[in-house]
Amino acid sequence: MALVTTTKGEMDDSLLEKKEGSVDNDNEYTTWVEYWLDGELVHRSAHVQLKQSVMLGAEAASFN
């Protein structure tokens, strides 16, 4: 038993339907969790783990 923050306030998770999922690709590993109450989405959280950087190349020019 745990309390979940929802659009209707704190609710016991035993009253809710829980759905979870994940996405894993070259750019990210993402997990999400949803709680539903009588067909209504009342909570959704997501956690994105970034995998890639942005890179700037640098070069020293030659005189010849």
């Binding site: 923050t5 929802t6 969790v33 997501a46 994105v48 942005v54």
Partner: protein, 169 residues
């Protein structure tokens, strides 16, 4: 022995800490690191390499293309920056300077009903309302949040995976 044409790796690192200035720069109030923020961007936006600034006003008005919703503050959240940039040589001609936020970027207890798919990192310290200098934009799969928490965890702070890298090859 012979000399080798190269970009100094330390130069790249010192670009990241404000030592060099080839043009008109800014007057720094101290040697402390600047404060950086992360703003979430709507999936319908068109932000890219040409996006020079965060154009909202931090704490009071979002910029066009930024998310809005319950619990979200205009401009996003401050980024934890406890680890300074690192510059490392990889050969006589190549090196990498890199930096990664030292903690996840977290937006707690928010409702963001319109899909978003990117975060803009920008400089709060050197900015003014409507013009905070952008650093980078990082994309991810489209998300919405309902009475929940959105967390962005950083890649490892290494020469190959750090969030921001300046590199010679």
């Amino acid at each position: 022995m012979a000399n080798t044409q190269a970009m100094s790796t330390s130069f790249m690192g010192k670009l990241m800490t404000g030592t060099h200035n080839f043009g008109t720069g800014v007057i720094r109030a101290s040697t402390a690191a600047d404060v950086y923020y992360g703003a979430l961007l709507l999936a319908s936006g068109t932000f890219n390499a040409s996006s020079s600034n965060y154009t909202g006003t931090v704490g009071s008005s979002t910029m066009s293309g930024e998310v809005s919703g319950t619990g979200y503050t205009a401009g996003g959240v401050a980024i934890t920056n406890a680890t300074p940039p690192t510059a490392t040589n990889s050969s006589t001609t190549a090196g990498v300077a890199f930096w990664t936020p030292s903690a996840s970027i977290t937006y707690p207890t928010v409702t963001l009903g319109t899909a978003f798919d990117a975060v803009m990192i920008y400089n709060f310290t050197q900015g003014t309302a409507g013009a905070y200098p952008a650093v980078s934009i990082h994309t991810f799969g489209s998300q919405t949040i309902t009475a929940g928490t959105f967390t962005l965890t950083m890649p490892s702070n290494t020469t190959t995976t750090a969030l921001i890298r300046l590199a010679t090859t």
